[in-house]
Amino acid sequence: MNKTIQRPGDTIFRGTAVAAATTILVTLAAVGIFLTIKGIPGMTASPEEVKHGTTFLAYVAPLVFGTLWAAALALAIATPVAIGVALFISHYAPRKLAGPVGYVIDLLAAVPSVVFGAWGIMTLAPAMRGPYAWLEDNLGFIPFFAGPASATGRTMLTAALVLAVMVIPIMTALCREIFLQTPRLHEEAALALGATRWEMVRMAVFPHAKSGIVSAAMLALGRALGETMAVAMVLSASGVVTFNLISSTNPSTIAANIALSFKEASGLSVNALIATGLVLFVITFAVNFVARLIVTGPNRAKAAKS
């Protein structure tokens, strides 16, 4: 067997690439190990030993619910908006307008979450008091809007709206890229059949972009799950499990709860907080894993067929 010639450039490049990849894995493993070692005592601590005075499971369950609920709401609000804006930029706006709009959306992604939190607490929450009261009066029969409407406006729906605004930029940017990659051939095929612009989008753009939209949504979901400051500032939390969107008693989220409780925690309570972090870590992992399954799923099925 001939030995292939080793060029120094190749060796160096391979070395740095492998090192970079390894660093990521080591970092991830280190975080996992840290969370596990520090978290386990918190999980097994008896109710008397910790500040929250319950078993770990009872402590973390509302937080997990709050985290998933807030993120799901944010995603439900953000997805249609992001798809709409991305479509506008990629297929509707004249080029002169598409550039600036895309740029503004990217700028939105650079705003720190504290700023969004401040906006949520000072502007959005007070502004939403009226609408919440209206929702309670008119749609109160739906459990989501059962009320009593919050007097401060610092509700789950407000937090979800702030989260939605925060994840829209990343989703829009990803969707826009995918929409722009729609093969010209398929767009023309639709137009030549006499499709209007919207029909062309449904025939050619959406089918092409479906898996991309899902992965964009999952990335956004990951962001919403882990978002700390905005939720910690906006939401008035009280550790309940409720689907009520407009009342002043709301479940907190894991990340916000850690941020708010960490300063005053000591001893095993710290371990319990870290354990909730571990739970969030696992949830985020699971979300990404599922997203990957969804994205590769159809392609794999297609490959198997042909």
Binding site: R95, P183, L185, H186, E187, E188, A189, A190, L191, A192, L193, G194, A195, T196, E199, M203, A204, P207, H208, K210, K302, K305, S306
Partner: protein, 259 residues
Amino acid sequence: MAHQIEVSNLNIYYGDFLAVEDVNITIEARSVTAFIGPSGCGKSTFLRSLNRMHEEIKGARVEGKVMSNGHNLYDSAMDPVDVRRQIGMVFQRPNPFPTMSIEQNVLAGPRLNNKRLKKSVADDLVEQSLTRSGLWNEVKDRLNKPGSGLSGGQQQRLCIARAIAVEPDVLLMDEPCSALDPISTSVIEDLIHQLKDDYTIAIVTHNMQQAARVSDNTAFFNLDGVGKPGRLIEHGPTEILFSTPSNPATEAYIQGRFG
């Protein structure tokens, strides 16, 4: 059904650039008209202007008239969407919708106009269109399979079936065989022969033998140089244009001396 297209004094611009200059031609009903000429001579642009597909490129516009069935396609009251429902198009590369089955591909156009197509009507339409495009016997047992699983030639015939399912008057074909092997090409050429009984067909081709084989009339486009607009040099019955062209440039191109 099929009727002729009369083009008069048509100039096609991309922004300020005049791409095709002053075309006057009548494309006869129930016959095949081939557009030939060297690359960049504007024959594809001209073809795409006949169903306003070229407007999808930013800044494209035309001056002049394209009359079909008594209407000017460029009248301000004309909707390009309606134009394209009457004047269908088949492209250079087969482009069935990848996520749709064979059947869904054929019905894609009809479903645009009529959302609630009855199952029996839809089935008839699928069989009719695929039969006319010569594909029925090859695919009738796998109508639910994706169109992208067919061979290139079959995909192109599927695209023809999809175009005629809308029941257009005119079919425009933009180098429909350039991505196909010789056997698929000859199948498509036979198909073009059959289709001209019912449709007005205009086809762009780089292949002069193909133009000679399939067309009744041929139009030769040329350009004086890079950056100059393409022009229609001459047109007429295919035998005459190929045997005794009146313009020396046509003769040179047909004999393979350039292009």
